[in-house]
């Protein structure tokens, strides 16, 4: 039995080797770290790339993505013609010189109406266009309508404060018997983004400089009160759409793409609102994904054509409708959006246009230290809120770690911190 099995396996393998590598070898490879979940990747292949040059759409998680790009760069043989990734994921590629300057493409898409600020981000501080903005998103709060009757007196769900959120969570826990607030604090959740992009800037108008200020101390005190109303399972939540759909959580904060399913499933059950505000404003974090061309791409012309296709207003609108990432170009969303995406669009609009809105950018210039930067926030949260350690000493200790990181990368301040000449100071 073993011998025929081997022979069969070998024959199969040989046949497979020949056919598999010959197939699809001509298409342009579009490698993306975004739109990875199966349903979204399918949408990209079947809907968004319709009418574009023939493309093989491949997805990678961020860490294999960097390894692959680096390996292809070092070996000098490229398979990937176009990459789509977040601002922060494209930055490291520039450090090992794997990206082709694309000022020519920038000129071609100039008429699309991409805001100058976004185009500037696409230079990654190098003076040349490195990526073309592709789509954007942000983080919002999703509220199950069942939670609305328990809102504290006088609170407006569209203009919550952190104090009101804490009160609301308490009321929900008392009236329903279980804690109904939720944050994605699981291993793959984006909770660190909440801490650095929403919570801290709302109290301090800073992500780095005021990390250990008195205002930050107040903030952690307030947030402990919020956490008393957060479902204890939060440390296993990665995507908030699941606990929302299961009814385990009624009020959740997450990335728009990670709550979309819940909204698509039951658009009548939810409202989408801006994150809460603190004393310094309603901070939110816009997320930008960009398109870049690797140096020595096998099909640069095809990649340029693909960028043109993806930044067309029509394609941008389709992208918003199908996967819930919003246009970077001047495009009007159609009235007949699916109800779930419409909810999201409203939530994003409420966030961006809130009177007290305060933009907190994704960390810039940290290179591969981005993960450690997130860990500083998460560790601080863990020590203060989960382990109940005294706030002041923890902030002092973690501020040292943060200073070490910033000094090592020499990253200058980014919004909402005031611009700095040297590395961003941690006061």
């Amino acid at each position: 039995m073993t011998k025929p099995l081997f022979a069969g396996a070998l024959a199969l393998a040989a046949a497979g080797l020949l056919t598999a590598s010959a197939a699809r070898a001509q298409d342009l490879v579009f490698l993306s770290t975004q739109l990875r979940p199966i349903e979204e990747a399918q949408k990209v292949r079947e809907v968004i790339l319709k009418g574009a040059p023939k493309t093989t759409y491949v997805v990678d998680e961020p860490s294999p993505f960097t390894v692959r790009m680096r390996a292809e760069q070092e070996a000098g043989k490229k398979t990937v013609s176009l990459v789509g990734a977040l601002h922060g994921e494209l930055q490291p590629l520039l450090t090992f010189n794997a990206l082709d300057p694309i000022d020519d493409v920038a000129a071609k898409v100039a008429s699309r109406g991409i805001p100058a600020g976004l185009m500037e981000l696409g230079k990654l501080g190098s003076g040349k266009q490195v990526y073309i903005p592709w789509m954007q998103a942000t983080y919002v709060m999703v509220v199950n309508k069942k939670a609305l009757p328990y809102l504290p007196a006088g609170a407006d769900v569209n203009a919550l404060t952190y104090a009101q959120l804490a009160e609301w969570g308490k009321a929900l826990a008392e009236k329903t018997g279980s804690r109904k607030l939720g944050f994605p604090a699981g291993p793959k959740g984006l909770f660190a983004r909440f801490l650095q992009g929403n919570l801290l800037p709302s109290y301090t108008k800073s992500m780095v400089t005021e990390f250990r200020s008195a205002a930050a101390e107040t903030m952690w005190g307030d947030f402990k009160a919020v956490w008393a109303g957060v479902n204890p399972n939060a440390s296993s939540y990665d995507f908030m759409q699941e606990p929302l759909m299961a009814g385990e959580v009624w009020v959740a904060w997450d990335h728009v793409a990670r709550v979309k399913d819940a909204l698509q499933q039951a658009p009548n059950d939810y409202v989408v609102v801006a994150p809460p505000a603190g004393p310094k404003g309603r901070a939110y974090m816009p997320v930008v994904a960009g398109l870049a061309i690797p140096k020595g791409a096998p099909d640069r012309a095809g990649a340029v054509a693909l960028i043109e296709h993806l930044t067309k207003p029509e394609t941008q609108v389709i992208t918003a409708a199908e996967v819930g990432f919003f246009p970077v170009v001047d495009a009007k969303l159609p009235a007949d959006l699916s109800p779930g995406v419409k909810l999201l669009a409203e939530g994003v609009a409420r966030t961006q246009t809130a009177k007290d809105a305060l933009v907190a950018l994704l960390p810039i210039g940290l290179g591969d230290k981005g993960g450690e930067f997130n860990k500083v926030y998460f560790d601080t949260f863990q020590r203060i809120v989960l382990r109940n350690e005294p706030i002041r000493p923890v902030l002092d200790a973690q501020a040292e770690v943060m200073r070490g990181l910033i000094d090592a990368t020499k990253a200058p301040c980014w919004a909402p911190d005031e611009p700095s000449t040297g590395p961003c100071p941690v006061k």
Binding site: G16, V29, L31, P37, A75
Partner: protein
């Protein structure tokens, strides 16, 4: 057997079966129960509104079949290579005394001591230069390196358990060394070799990291699905989990009689 002992025997059997079957049953339930059932709590233990839809959607995903083929190729190659290289090493360890045999036993395990994540970059560079990048064969080579220690050590134990006297008797009756091996040792060793083969197959089938870094177009099924599966809605995870389990179960089922023989139950 007395009544009480019989009861204990059968409850033990039931517990062991449940240990394996209940999780698989729950996954199947999720895979066939539709989107709503995946989120319902408490879970229903029977199938209401069974639908093949999500499984069908899953199998319609572009590239799934190609990825499945790649997985089968890589796993089969891994199985073949690790046995072809591992079994002779195991035989040598079992039959010959040589200097450094103990050290070799230990060293062979060291291939598992290096985390792939650290090796990934240089490995990928070498693979690109050697033209192995993005081929199932390249993936199989890495998986063979991972499976080889098990193959060598499992087969060493196996050959050591087959009395040398049987082989010597075959020599006395005129067999050459090779003939003695093929006619006497190999048939006795088959069940163990099957076990080693299953190990290799499953290691390759389940490995994600190397498979996803070393391929772009020609991904294995696990690399193609598993990384994205973790971020997909629950009902898709069930469908995907089901699709990933079935081939391993089928494979193990196919070689089961060799396994039973290994555990002292006669061939049936």
């Amino acid at each position: 057997m007395t009544g009480a002992r019989r009861l204990m025997f059968w409850s033990g059997v039931a517990a062991l079966c449940a240990w394996v079957l209940v999780p698989i049953y729950l996954i199947a339930l999720g895979a066939f129960g539709g989107r709503a059932a995946a989120f319902r709590w408490p879970k229903a233990f029977t199938l209401v509104n069974a639908s093949l839809e999500q499984l069908a959607t899953f199998l319609r995903i572009e590239g799934v079949w190609n990825a499945a083929l790649n997985s089968v190729i890589a796993a089969s190659l891994t199985m073949a290579l690790s046995l072809l290289l591992g079994a002779p090493a195991g035989y040598a360890l079992a039959r010959y005394r040589f200097r450094g045999a103990g050290a070799f036993r230990l060293m062979v395990l060291l291939t598992r001591a290096f985390p792939l994540a650290i090796l990934a970059l240089p490995l990928t560079v070498v693979f690109i230069r050697a033209g192995l990048y993005d081929t199932p064969f390249g993936v199989a080579l890495v998986h063979t390196a991972l499976a080889l220690p098990f193959a060598a050590l499992v087969t060493a134990g196996l050959f050591a358990g087959i009395p040398r006297e049987l082989e010597e008797a075959a020599w006395v009756f005129g067999c050459s060394r090779l003939q003695a091996f093929m006619r006497v040792v190999l048939p006795l060793a088959l069940p163990g070799l099957a076990a080693a083969a299953i190990f290799a197959f499953v290691i390759s089938w389940n490995e994600v990291f190397a498979a996803s870094v070393l391929t772009v177009r020609n991904r294995t099924l696990t690399a193609y699905l598993l990384t994205v599966l973790a971020e997909s809605p629950l009902h898709y995870r069930f469908a995907g989990g089901f699709v990933l389990i079935v081939p391993s179960v089928v494979f193990i089922f196919a070689v089961r009689r060799y396994l039973f023989a290994l555990w002292g139950v006669s061939n049936r």
